[in-house]
């Protein structure tokens, strides 16, 4: 069941910049959805519209069935937002700023919940510290704590691990999975494709304000993923012999490596035929290995294809 339904959403800024073009997208309850796209693709605009920060030019958005404009209070109560920029109240303490956010969302003080959130994010020891005294990574955690202070059903993470070290990034991944296990729907935008590959259930790719693809991660990898067979040759080749031209081989490693790319979803991989042809041509190899394209490769291909 969809927890967010975006229908024919468009945004044209006063400057004339078209940020979103007729976007239709549904986010399923309880999933982790990764929105990928190059800089300026419209990711943040999309998130900011759903959260009430940017006004849409056309289209509708509902959060848990509540229209974000007509029934904004109910819609916004369900949403937590971690913005891309480290925007914090520098002079406030961690405890005060997180409690403040809970109050903004109309909820009574709940020190036990705030303590739980701060402990989950390893911020408990820093609860009385002023935010300006914290490191960038800690500030990022504070923003997440603020977004979780009102127990949202939907959490938007706009580039959550930008500028964050590896250990903290993995901490955050664990936190996101734990939230998903608790029933929170997580929508994240990221530049780190490995982040989407690691965490997302579904992936959407946005480019120039249009959603060009939405697919389950496993399905996407299966459909668009390609495998490569690399053969280390015993003797280098100056060029691919004409007899092997039909296999579409690439010569690499100064003639010491032959690369064969095949489709994982194809009925025939063509490997048997290739090996037979190599044997016939008297080409011997000392080693072989296969590799599968990553989500990053798929993403780069997708964006390139539509350019």
């Amino acid at each position: 069941m969809a927890i967010i339904a975006i229908s024919n959403l468009s945004k044209v800024y006063a400057s004339g910049l078209v940020a979103l073009k007729d976007v239709t997208l549904t986010i399923e309850r309880g999933e982790i959805f990764a929105l990928l796209g190059p800089n300026g693709a419209g990711k943040s605009t999309l998130i900011n519209i759903v959260c009430g920060i940017v006004t849409p030019s056309a289209g509708t958005v509902t959060a848990d069935g509540h229209d974000i404009l007509g029934d904004y209070r109910a819609a916004r109560r369900r949403i937590g937002l971690v913005p891309q920029e480290l925007t914090t109240d520098a002079f406030e303490t961690v405890w005060n700023t997180v409690s403040f956010t809970r109050g903004l969302f109309g909820l009574r003080k709940d020190p036990a919940h705030i303590e739980r959130v701060l402990r989950d994010l390893s911020l408990w020891e820093k609860r009385d510290s002023r935010i300006m005294a914290l490191s960038g990574g800690m500030k990022r955690r504070v923003l997440i704590a603020k977004a979780l202070s009102h127990e949202p059903q939907i959490l938007f993470l706009d580039e959550p691990t930008a500028g964050v070290d590896v250990a903290l990034r993995q901490d955050m991944w664990r936190l996101v999975r734990r939230l998903r296990d608790q029933g929170v729907t997580v929508i994240l935008t990221t530049h780190y494709i490995e982040e989407a590959e690691e965490m997302a259930d579904r992936i959407g790719v946005i480019r120039r304000g249009q959603i060009i693809l939405v697919e389950g991660k496993a399905e996407l990898m299966r459909k668009l993923g390609r495998k490569q067979l690399s053969l280390q040759l015993q003797a280098p080749l100056a060029e691919v012999p004409p007899a092997l031209a039909e296999h579409g081989l690439e010569l690499a490693g100064d003639g010491h490596e032959l690369i064969y790319t095949y489709d994982t979803k194809g009925e025939r991989t063509g490997i048997t035929g290739l090996l037979t042809a190599l044997s016939t041509a008297g080409i011997r190899f000392s080693d072989l290995r296969t590799s599968q394209s990553s989500l990053e490769d798929i993403f780069v291909d997708l964006v390139k294809e539509r350019a």
Binding site: V54, P83, F100, G103, L104, F105, G106
Partner: protein, 253 residues
Amino acid sequence: MNWQAVGAIYGFEMARFWRTAMQSILAPVISTSLYFVVFGAAIGSRVTAVDGVPYGLFIVPGLIMLSLLTQSIANASFGIYFPRFAGTIYEILSAPISPLEVVLGYVGAAASKSILIGLIILATAALFVPLRIEHPVWMLAFLLLTAVTFSLFGFVIGLWADGFEKLQLVPLLIVTPLTFLGGSFYAIDMLPPFWRALSLFNPVVYLISGFRWSFFGKADVSLGISLGMTCLFLTVCLGLVTWIFRTGYRLKS
């Protein structure tokens, strides 16, 4: 109504006030004391009573208004400008809060701070001159009305400003001169006819006049006109704030 949110904004803003208590409270007390030393004692001793009121006592309502106006504008404009500058305004915009609730929180806090400062100045004045307040309820009513009106005005400035320079522009170049020329330290009857007529275009004249009436029962203009002009300015500010939130001017793209 999301009263929790109103309370959260109000509490957050007041906490900032107490955190900078030295600057918030001590500064107006010192400057008021200096005004009394300079205008009340040094110059006041050579000035005859104004409308039968000793000069040192006469300037008390004007001094309170001077601080009330500048503090209301400064507190409210900074209160809303700083989240815009720091980017934390995203929290306000994405929370389930109506524009009215946002205004209540920010303007309520700014007005509370300036009223508190006004009362502190009144208490400081009592150390220098024997205070006389003929209409204490009206005095409080003018204090409240002026604080709310100018906090709203400050809120508008805080939304309009796109830099710290602009934030200071209106208070420094418009409000402070209008306050000094609005009869803070003199009755406008003391001015030559031309300047007296010109003064009637200064809205601050009506605020100070009404406020002074609540102290001494004497005013430059009638109480009804003072009250009417203050309410008119309040309505204009309310209209501006409503328009800003309706259109999202400087708040939403």
